[in-house]
Symmetry: C2
Subunit: 269 residues, 2 copies
């Protein structure tokens, strides 16, 4: 049986650099689909493109307007291919209107001097010892994940008590479990509850405008994770006049950095 | 007299959504121009576009290949304009070949609940008490800045002693002083020495592949900075098989976050 995630990111080639896809009700958000699944679709345009070179290194998706449930078209163009790197420009449209733009870089990695600098959050009790996030009050897509919070969980109804910070640390994996890959890692990078909900313990209208993923793991390192939980942490630097930022990291259980992620989010009120 | 920065980012309209520019020897890097000046040129395509709506919120520039000294063409297309936000796709070409791609979001900001979360580095002696970075061994563009390091300075010749982290904190402003604006803030976001130089105290071949800026300040807040130094801090999370990341923040002297910035950088050796 096809996993809902694979069904949601399925693309059919319809011409040179052009693919057709459709939204999936299982990943519905308050308005339109969960941004993470749309970002995964954009990356999939790179991953399934016959001219792709190497593994994804970075992806930036700008959400230009809400997608409506139904069909969309994705244009995925390799605009420059070098010896080991390749540059992509992607556009997702619905009925001729731009809904998302993206750029991506893929590359053939070589073995070099390597050294981690950051460490995962020190306090990280095993996921098996933690309760899953209660799904009440959350849109459909949240049920597509098993989220087990160490800190910064927001349950329904939020109590409106302003917190001193917006830090969250949680274990996460797909529901049902699915071996992680670049597409699902991308979606996980956008799966954090909006930082303003965590800081204010209040739900306000929000929408990500720009979302970036840096992939620190290559395909082999990712494949080694299998279906295990990954540790996700996120925080904000600043909430100012309608926009806040979010920065996050995704770690393996063994403490390897798999991805880092950044976004800027519109909010009202 | 025109400031070198303004000369370097000058664009002439040559058609709908099309501008001509040329590189400036004052901002030369090891190979081609300093990436920050190219990123500022990309943003300038938005800033000087007759259809622009609001202030920049985010900019992502992907460096697809080295620019050669001389003329370039910039295409800056507003691909979707909403009530308060506008989405941009930009392409810089030289002789028909793509050298950079970018996406950007601009928006009219409204006053909302606002709250900082992060604070500037606690140890930040005034710039007037610190010595400027010695320019020996650095390419031309470094002399276009007055950099005064609190920590994480690398002077020529580097001693090759591996450091425990790649953190840098410095005061920076244009040389000669110039009132900061979105374009110069963008260039400053890319002005950090590559984190691998700081960590390894060794110069190795590097090149930024993708660079992102989030603008936390609006035009009025930026204008209030005038020609004063801004405080810049940066660090990396991970160096792995040819790519490392960098995350940084740009603060006003009063401790307001002006911009946050992220990049992923190719390295050899």
């Amino acid at each position: 049986m096809t996993h809902a995630f694979d069904a949601a990111i399925e693309l059919s080639p319809i011409g040179p650099h052009r693919f057709a896809g459709k939204t999936h009700a299982g990943y519905a958000n308050m308005v339109g689909p969960f941004g993470g699944i749309t970002a995964a679709v954009m990356l999939r345009g790179v991953l399934c493109h016959p001219e792709r070179l190497g593994d994804p290194i970075s992806l930036t998706v700008n959400f230009a307007g809400p997608l409506t449930e139904g069909a969309f078209e994705l244009q995925a163009q390799p605009v420059r291919t070098n010896r080991s790197t390749q540059h992509w420009v992607l556009t997702l449209t619905q009925e001729g209107q731009v809904a998302c733009t993206a750029t991506a870089v893929s590359a053939v990695r070589r073995e070099t001097w390597s050294m981690p600098e950051a460490a995962p959050p020190a306090h990280r009790p095993a996921p098996e010892t933690l309760a899953p996030l209660p799904l009440a009050g959350y849109p459909a897509w949240v049920a597509r994940y098993d989220m087990r919070f160490v800190e910064g969980m927001v349950t329904w109804p939020p109590n409106g008590e302003l917190q001193s910070n917006s830090q969250s640390v949680l274990w996460i994996r797909d529901t049902p479990a699915r071996a992680i890959d670049f597409a699902s890692l991308t979606a996980i990078c956008d799966s954090f509850l909006p930082r303003i909900f965590v800081r204010r313990r209040q739900f306000v209208p929000i929408g990500t405008v720009s979302f970036t993923c840096y992939f620190h793991a290559d395909a082999t390192q990712l494949a080694a994770q299998g279906e295990d939980y990954v540790l996700a942490s996120a925080r904000a630097l600043n909430f100012s006049n309608g926009y806040f930022d979010q920065t996050g990291e995704i770690w393996s259980r063994a403490g390897t950095l798999l991805a880092s992620t950044h976004q800027v989010v519109y909010y009202r009120e």
